[in-house]
Symmetry: C2
Subunit: 235 residues, 2 copies
């Protein structure tokens, strides 16, 4: 009778699906704003930039929330995806490292819109500590553990220089945090059970450069055949 607790639901949702749910959610929010009541997998897939079979399979992992012959109820689906992603609660985020990037992130509005609240800013530089940014006081990194506890922080964004990142990560983890978004260009080593996601601008550019090179190579007739180590080897 409890048909709604669908078969596929009981065991975990594939990682690839999780990564796409926010995309669907964004598209659905747009549709909700435009007053659409229902949407077909075809249309939603189009809006999210994926193939419709994939979209249906993804949604089927959360349950059987569509109506054959009709589509999905926009509001209902928004609710289900939000719940699945844990966005029905709000999350306190701390940003550690309030430099160029940390400031940009702190001032960024798109954050709050989706249940994330910047609850603390932390830095090691006495020059920076005490600054007021986006309505928050920058606190000293020495206060890290206390601040995390006091503000109920559960996600930490790392925007320190690469050299400091591992050390800060260790402290943050010791303080009980298990979700970290890392902007520093280093491979963090963390214990089992801690989730790290990284954003690395430089890697993205290098991947683009690779493909760009391929494209221009193709036009100019391939790379030079000389695949050898050129003279300039100074070691």
């Amino acid at each position: 009778m409890i048909r709604r607790l669908s078969q596929a639901r009981e065991r975990g949702i594939p990682e690839a699906t999780v990564a796409r749910l926010p995309l669907y959610l964004r598209a659905l929010n747009g549709m909700s704003e435009r007053g659409l009541a229902t949407v077909s997998s075809e249309d939603l897939a189009m809006a999210a930039g994926v193939n419709s079979a994939k979209l249906r399979k993804d949604l089927s992992h959360l349950g059987s929330y569509g109506t054959r012959g009709v589509g999905y109820d926009v509001e209902y689906l928004i609710y289900q995806i939000s719940r699945e992603l844990g966005l029905t609660q709000d999350w306190a985020v701390a940003i550690v490292g309030v430099g160029n990037l940390g400031r940009a992130l702190a001032n960024y509005g798109g954050f709050v819109s989706r249940g994330f609240r910047v609850a603390a800013l932390l830095d090691a530089d006495p020059e920076v500590v005490g600054d007021r940014i986006a309505g928050l006081n920058v606190e000293h990194i020495d206060e890290l553990e206390a601040v995390i506890r006091r503000r109920g922080v559960s996600i930490v964004v790392l925007a320190t220089p690469a050299a400091a990142a591992q050390q800060v990560a260790d402290r943050v983890i010791a303080a009980g945090i298990t979700s970290i978004l890392n902007f520093a260009p280093v491979v963090l080593s963390v214990p089992e059970g801690v989730d790290i996601r990284k954003v690395d601008l430089s890697i993205e550019l290098q991947i683009l450069a690779f493909h760009e090179q391929r494209k221009t190579d193709r036009m100019t007739g391939g790379p030079a055949m000389a695949e050898e180590w050129p003279e300039a080897v100074d070691l």
Copy 2:
């Protein structure tokens, strides 16, 4: 005889491999600075945070550059990976949208270090145009095509609000650009042959939240069994 143009080399390198090459490169640069001459797949894999079989298979796609019983020559491998990624030339990058994020990117040093040069900053806001940031004048978006041509820009970073991103992308592509790094939270639709990579902070946080929720659910004995649409459905 031309043993070096290895078997695996002739056809394209797997996308997953391309995405890891920058990681290896970063690790190798660290080793080079510390004066290491050679490195084993085991050690390099460790430093890059991957499994050593994967590393060897990745490298084998570029050619057979290791020495059995010894390992890889650090400098030589740096050169080969750099060449493969197209980092032996330098790339002129334009940043469109010089707000919070655009400024942070413009001021970011880690860029230049790897063959990428911020060659132009563009914005639509007359308030911003003319500002001098990181040694560059912010130019008006009307100048887009001319600036791209004049500075030899081949990669564009989009840091405009979401609402403007598609429109800017269209113009940039019309101007001949085929590599775009998009920070705006929208799915850009682009013609065949144009490479888009996106960085979406909000998606990363949502993925972290999903896992964080799972972790805490596990401790508190799973989510409430009520999977139903709660009362508050206002449609």
